[in-house]
């Protein structure tokens, strides 16, 4: 079977939970051939992969958001007369008008228009008379008091990204599988429509809600534009839900959000994340802790140094705990180069507050470091089903996590009787975090008990075998049992 994964802002470029999920998936389904579509922000990063592509990945099709705006693109796609027409009928103009306003879109028409424009003419269309006239009409109806040129550019930047991603080269496959909604989900919907192939979407977080949260909090998005942006992302999610034959989520709570966003409930499957439990032997921990250099309580965190992981709250909590217990050390494991400004901020915070015994290790082999630590911290302000918690729990390490995503279920269980695998704290609450750290640091027996509970929970619900079984079932239903080799020719579809 050939599966085409569609990833946005993640695999194979960015280290993180979703990327690791994709990487593991490809390796665990080694008998399948995988093709990749990667949607990324910057073309200059092309080829700078954070992962080594497994051997069963046969091709990688990429598209970058900044390409329509860069110099080469500008030179290569000289704009013809602004009078060049891309829309065939007044109905198409009306469809685009509704689409730009964020009303429920006729996505089949949108796909057709976007593919007709193609990559070569994308700048011409978004500079052309048709686009400006449509946007002007929208402006005069509802936005006549906002700066006009700003409004044009808002619409242009929103939809050029969307239309650009709809012009990615889509390789032939039996199943299309996106790992988020958003642009990846949209491309999956397009692939499904174009080639009449099944499309499955796995949503780790709820893409539209996450974007909405960012938009609401953002200081640089103008008030009149917030609603447009929210509708824009909701609309894309709706397209993915509509065209997907199956929508997979990691935990039950997300299912309700998806239904709320318009996904038919009967499409939704819950397949939790899984880890290869055999690679996480608790017996390693004892020796690792005995043989490590640090003799106090070693606290670990597997993170990317980015704002969403809220490293600052982690440092604050650690600092407060250290006031009452000096035998604490914090090990921050993970890449630091994703947001260099934030990393610098964290470093300065440590120096300014004179926080001792904090170490940034950079990228490491987590399986070598985890056995050494006594507890794991997670202070993210947004998560789905973090692999870092599952891996720590597999090593029988107690965890302290913020109450985001399904972390509460992971740590305390969802009605099972395995006991607490750690402590859940509110987000951005350094005092609660400090209290939890101190509690666990002072009680090795509690830590051991929590570690056992965690291991049992992972063995029961979050194993690789459960995960593989879940997706094998989904794929076999979608593929119809014959590998689904009834596709149309990709060349014909691209004409």
């Amino acid at each position: 079977m050939i599966v085409c994964f569609i990833a946005e802002g993640s695999y194979p470029y960015v280290m993180g939970g979703v990327s690791s999920w994709v990487d593991s998936f490809i390796k665990w389904f080694g008998e399948n051939e995988f093709k990749l579509i990667s949607i990324g922000p910057f073309e200059e990063k092309k080829g700078q992969y954070a992962y080594v592509l497994p051997p069963n990945v046969s091709c990688l099709s990429e598209i970058f958001f900044d390409t329509p705006f860069n110099k080469q693109s500008s030179k290569a796609t000289r704009q013809p007369f602004y009078t060049q027409k891309f829309l065939k009928t007044p109905e198409e103009k009306a469809v685009l008008s509704r689409h730009f306003l964020g009303e429920l879109s006729d996505w089949i028409k949108i796909f057709e228009i976007a593919r007709r424009i193609g990559r070569k003419n994308i700048r011409a269309f978004f500079s052309g008379r048709e686009f400006i006239d449509i946007v002007t009409q929208i402006y005069e109806k509802e936005f006549e008091h906002v700066p006009f040129v700003e409004f044009i550019w808002l619409m242009r930047s929103m939809f050029i990204y969307q239309f650009w991603s709809l012009n990615v080269e889509i390789p032939e496959a039996d199943i299309y599988h996106s790992v988020s909604a958003g642009y990846a989900g949209l491309v999956g919907a397009l692939a499904s429509h174009l080639y009449n192939k099944p499309f499955v979407m796995t949503e780790h977080g709820i893409y539209a809600r996450e974007r909405e949260e960012e938009i609401v909090k953002s200081s640089y998005i103008k008030d009149y534009a917030r609603d447009l942006w929210v509708k824009y992302f909701y609309n894309m999610s709706f397209a993915a839900y509509r065209f997907a034959r199956t929508v997979v989520t990691l935990f039950e709570k997300n299912k309700f959000f998806q239904v709320d966003l318009g996904c038919p409930e009967n499409k939704i499957f819950v397949v939790p994340n899984g880890i290869d439990i055999s690679a996480f032997s608790a017996s390693l921990c004892g020796d690792a802790r005995k043989n490590r250099d640090y003799k106090g309580t070693l606290i670990g965190a597997v993170i990317r140094v980015v704002p969403i992981k809220d490293i600052v709250t982690m440092l604050q909590g650690f600092m407060l705990a250290k006031k009452n217990n000096s035998e604490l050390k914090l090990l921050l494991m993970g890449p630091q180069d994703e947001d260099e400004e934030y990393f610098k901020y964290c470093e300065e915070y440590i120096v300014k507050n004179d926080i001792q015994d904090v170490e940034f290790t950079g990228r490491v082999n987590v399986k070598e470091y985890l056995p050494q630590i006594d507890m794991l911290l997670l202070t993210s302000i947004s998560e789905a089903q973090p692999l870092s918690l599952l891996e720590a729990m597999a090593f029988q390490i107690p965890v302290i996590s913020t109450d985001v995503g399904c972390c509460n279920d992971i740590v305390y269980g969802n009605g099972d009787d395995f006991g607490d695998a750690g402590i859940v704290t509110p987000i951005m609450d350094p005092n609660a975090l400090a209290f939890a750290i101190e509690k666990l640091a002072a009680d090795p027996e509690l830590r051991a008990q929590m570690g056992i509970s965690g291991r049992k929970r992972v063995e029961r619900y979050y194993t690789k075998d459960n995960f593989i079984e879940g997706y094998k079932l989904i794929y076999s239903i979608l593929a119809g049992g014959n590998n689904g080799r009834n596709w149309f020719s990709i060349e014909e579809a691209h004409k």
């Binding site: 602004y82 008379r129 006009f148």
Partner: protein, 454 residues
């Protein structure tokens, strides 16, 4: 050029009396057309003086024709680089990078004056002229070419009185030196007159150069910095070159390819009489048209850049278009009136001088043609305002090819001496360019809202 227009406009509007206005306009003419007027005055005095000094009439004719062709060829050769240089200087002034100014003049001098002078000498050698005459007239060619390059910088200087003094001083020196012609042997008088011109105009060029250096300093940028603009804006070379070649095509063609000694069929005199229509047209454009339009255009752009609503932008554009139509109407009337007046003058003047009917018709057609050339030039400049070099290039190219085409066609019918080619070329190019301009202005917001092209 809008800068000099605003300054002159302020001067003219200082006082409402007619006498003040007449004097101010005369001053404006001198500031903008100084070199040309000084040359014409000097040459007129010279030509008259040569009659007094009993210079052979054939020699006077050769002298007049040579001066004429020096004007034409120097304009054409320096014209190829002048628009690029103008753009470079404008950008330097905008960013207050005054270190670039004087080095760019050196660059412009090297690229325009030196090769042009060599080309002139070669052409004159091929025409088997006297060696000393070739040399001294070549020096005049170099000096006048240098002045064409210097003129690009004069618009940025604020002390126009000093500029005027430089013109008058140079011209005055030439005239004073010429008074000694009677003491020069007959066989050397022609060459001596060129020496007088060379001396006076060299002083003029030196004074202008000193003013520019005083104002902007020596500069420390490489002269090659200016040459990068040729790579960046290659179309500007041809926009100006084709325009100038178009105006002077017949004269240029004659100078290079035909040795014409027919004294009755003098091309230059009626041509230069006709070009007087350019002066009132260009004065009106620089002082009235461009300043009025520039203000509305600036308001329009400001409305866009300062986050105006669609309503604000539409209103600003409507005001701009209204001003454009109004000013074009007035400009048309100016060139029409002066075209007719100068045509009448030419008829009377040339008849008194015993010119034949063809020469008279030639001057009339050229006078009227120059009116359309002013209008066509304004259309071209307006496109360049919006950085639409493609349209400006199209206008210049069309104008040149119309001139070439009409010259060939009229030659077939023996009508090429009447100046009809220039009239028709100017008229047609203005009409076609005007249609494009109307369409462009109507759809201006589409052009301005496009994604920027690198």
């Amino acid at each position: 050029m809008a800068g000099i227009g605003f300054q002159l406009k302020k001067l003219i509007n200082k006082n409402d009396s007619y006498s003040h206005k007449i004097v101010s306009y005369a001053y404006a003419v001198l500031v903008i057309y100084g070199p040309m007027i000084v040359c014409i005055v000097c040459l007129s005095i010279l030509t008259y003086a040569m009659g007094i000094f009993n210079v052979d009439i054939k020699e006077i004719a050769v002298f007049s024709r040579t001066i004429g062709y020096i004007f034409v060829l120097s304009n054409v050769i320096t014209g190829a680089s002048s628009l690029v240089l103008t753009r470079y200087v404008s950008d330097a002034l905008y960013f207050k990078d005054y270190n670039k100014i004087l080095p760019s003049f050196i660059g412009g001098f090297i690229i325009g004056v030196i090769p042009g002078t060599i080309i002139y000498w070669i052409i004159m050698l091929l025409q088997k002229q006297d060696l000393i005459f070739i040399f001294v007239s070549g020096i005049f060619f170099a000096v006048i070419s240098t002045i064409w390059v210097l003129i690009i910088y004069l618009g940025a200087l604020s002390n126009h009185t000093k500029i005027l003094k430089a013109f008058i001083t140079g011209g005055g020196i030439s005239i004073v030196l010429m008074l000694a012609t009677s003491f020069v042997p007959q066989s050397f008088r022609m060459n001596y007159i060129f020496v007088c011109l060379n001396t006076g105009f060299t002083v003029m060029a030196a004074l202008l150069y000193a003013q520019i250096k005083n104002y902007f300093g020596s500069g420390d940028k490489s002269i090659w910095d200016f040459y990068n603009y040729f790579k960046k804006y290659p179309s500007l070379i041809f926009i100006n070159l084709f325009y100038i070649l178009g105006i002077y095509w017949e004269n240029f063609y004659n100078f290079i390819f035909i040795i014409d000694l027919d004294l009755k069929r003098t091309y230059m005199e009626p041509f230069f009489l006709g070009t007087f229509v350019l002066i009132p047209g260009m004065i009106y454009f620089i002082i009235k048209f461009e300043t009025a339009y520039f203000e509305k255009h600036a308001t329009f752009l400001e409305t866009i850049n300062q986050k105006g609503t669609y309503g604000d932008i539409t209103l600003a554009k409507a005001n701009m278009v209204k001003t454009l139509s109004f000013e074009f109407g007035k400009l048309f009337r100016v060139v029409l009136i002066f075209g007719l007046l100068i045509s009448l003058f030419c008829i009377n003047y040339l008849q008194d001088r015993g010119a034949d009917e063809i020469t008279i018709w030639r001057s009339v057609n050229i006078a009227l043609g120059m009116g359309f050339i002013v209008l066509m030039y304004v259309v071209k400049v307006l496109f360049l305002y919006y950085d639409k070099k493609g349209y400006a290039f199209m206008i210049s190219t069309m104008f040149l090819f119309f001139n070439i085409g009409f010259l060939n066609v009229t030659r077939t019918y023996g009508m090429n001496h009447y100046g009809i080619g220039l009239l028709l070329s100017g008229f047609l190019t203005f009409c076609i360019g005007g249609i494009f301009l109307i369409s462009f202005i109507k759809n201006l917001h589409y052009h301005l809202l496009r994604m920027p092209q690198e």
